[in-house]
Symmetry: C2
DNA sequence: CTGAAAGCGCTTACAG
DNA sequence: CTGAAAGCGCTTACAG
């Protein structure tokens, strides 16, 4: 049986087959009252025989409020468990609201983010959850001003009035740094994502604040940031730690960075000699030896809250912009509690 | 400045402002030739001032082939890195084709899967990639017969003619089991997902085949399957391993099962005494002590191939159904090469 | 080069 | 209880 991709049946096709007007089909399909049971039967039979399925686009085009029952989620990389957990949180809320989720990865590229936002708007999503690299972009700002509901996730915005939900990146980073300082470290290196991303910049700021508060000057080479593919961090870390005068502790401020660093430390057999604390949790961090101390976020919760705020707006709420900031605390597992290595070749000694 | 959610401007609004017919606006918006540069200028100005963005739904409704530039992906759980990596693979291909991806998690529930498929079709996606629990469902089958492109991912189907891409679950499971047998194990327990899921059933079948081939009868209590939330497996495994007469090796046939088992083994300090091999890779499995041996899949590749096949169909290809099966091999890291524990309290001894 | 008409698949608002 | 007309926002197919 070769399948011939036939034209999809429309209401008129069903009407013809059932011998009624297409308006009657519309009534039956929409469970409207006041159709004789005989016609209902004929229409339903025709619907089944033809495999008719109403076209939501056409339906909603004509309707009043004209929601599409679809929301958009612009994120950085859906293959990153942090983002896919957020997506799941959004999805759960969307499902209860009868909505579907369009998701797209920007990889932190401004251009791709704009493309995604534009494509979502062209498809008339009812609203957007955005982890933005460029929150003041004209496309997005104009849409927000025009009334399209937008909730920013995990970032702050300037000059744009919209709801936002995010972790307290700076506070979490301060706590992580303070944790290492409390273990006696003074030579701590920071490794993080591209500071063009709000959360990355904030974490770096938190690190600097905590170090300054402890009266420690951080040399420039102790702060390493950049947009690298997930796999690249291991090599970057290995190279860094192999140089003379390594730090006594490292703060790896993103999950892929944390993973790369953990692998580098193990490769160099330094995992018991250099302390590590990460931002974002990673799978099996509790089982590695030593366990990797981290400042976890709650992606599922972040996503769920963002979606709830979004649907409030979609539902017509017009209260002032909401700003929800979720605290982040240290989870100690071992790696972040290691004291400074007494045997370490200090910078001065190594250079002499 | 309070924002009043105004009606979104249409082509007619732009036309009025520019003092032209709305057809001229259509020409300018679609970069058609043959509009005087003066009118082009006026229209473009009005477009910018009003923040006009064409409605893709209306546009495509009227167009010939009438693609929506959107595909749907029905999966089990997007918070599972296996699926989110597939999604990323699909997304990459979709982006190059100018398409967006609607994704939805079924949690392996037949009803939710049907809802998702129905909602996707109502929105007239151009095609579907489906990790199905119920591949012969009438909704899906009727759509396929009608000509909607569908690619099944990670499963086989009966009575439905559609492209499919999947891992060789059975072969991979046989290889995993053979790997444990080669290390000298004969008392191996299998732990896996709900056999309603094709891949779960296949892996169990592979396990049984390999055991049978080795002349070993597998007692029923050595096969544990079920649909459990990710977090539940640790407890299930702990309970199981605490009982008298534990197996000398375990085959954990899904990533969340593997994680739960690894935690249980460590909790009971059995990680060096009971061998483990998992299906699907998990993060940091290489760094745990011992490293967790697994049979990894290539989710990003699976997703990419599925999407490529889908877009071929969307593009009109009508070759016979394609069936791509990706081999799975063992990655040895330590846990799967542990020999049977000579000190183990055997079942008989323990019961006496 | 520009525009008025018809139609995509449906719903809304009116008639009978 | 049933249906013919108008319209959602756009494109196609024809005129001028």
């Amino acid at each position: 049986m070769v399948v011939t991709p036939s034209r999809r049946p429309t209401m008129r096709d069903v009407a013809r087959r059932a011998g009624v007007s297409f308006k009657t089909v519309s009534r039956v399909v929409n469970d409207e009252t006041g159709v004789s049971s005989e016609l209902v039967g004929r229409v339903e039979k025709a619907v089944t025989q033809l495999g008719y399925r109403p076209d939501d686009r056409a339906r909603r085009l004509r309707q009043r409020g004209s929601h599409t029952g679809t929301i958009g989620f612009v994120l950085v990389d859906v293959a990153n468990p942090f983002f896919s957990s957020i997506l799941r949180g959004i999805e759960e809320v969307a499902r209860h609201r009868g909505s579907l989720v369009l998701a797209g990865s920007s990889d932190g590229l401004v251009e791709r983010e704009h493309q995604l936002v534009g494509a979502f708007i062209a498809r008339r999503v009812d609203g957007l959850v955005v982890v933005s690299v460029d929150p003041t972009a004209s496309v997005l700002r104009q849409e927000i001003e025009r009334g399209t509901p937008v909730v920013f996730l995990d970032l702050e915005t300037r000059g744009v009035r919209a709801d936002l939900v995010r972790s307290d990146h700076r506070g979490g980073a301060r706590a992580a740094t303070a944790h290492l300082l409390a273990a006696g470290h003074r030579d701590i290196a920071f490794f993080g994502d591209d500071p063009a991303i709000f959360s990355a910049k904030e974490r770096r700021a938190g690190f600097r604040q905590a170090m300054r508060a402890a009266g420690i000057d951080v040399p420039v080479h102790r702060i390493v940031t950049g947009a690298h593919p997930p796999d690249a961090w291991r090599g970057i870390m290995t190279d860094y730690l192999r140089r003379p005068d390594p730090p006594t502790a490292i703060f790896t401020a993103q999950n892929f960075v944390t993973l790369g660093a953990a692998r580098a430390l193990h490769e160099l057999s330094l995992q018991h000699r250099i302390a590590q604390i990460g931002f974002d949790d990673v799978e099996l961090a509790d089982l590695v030896e030593p366990g990797i101390s981290v400042v976890p976020q709650q992606p599922f919760v972040l996503g769920g809250r963002a979606a709830e705020l979004l649907f409030e707006r979609i539902g017509g709420a017009d209260h002032p912009a909401v700003r929800e900031i979720v605290r982040c605390n240290v989870v100690a597992r071992g790696s972040g509690e290691l004291p400074p290595d007494p045997l370490r070749t200090t910078g001065v000694a190594a250079r002499r």
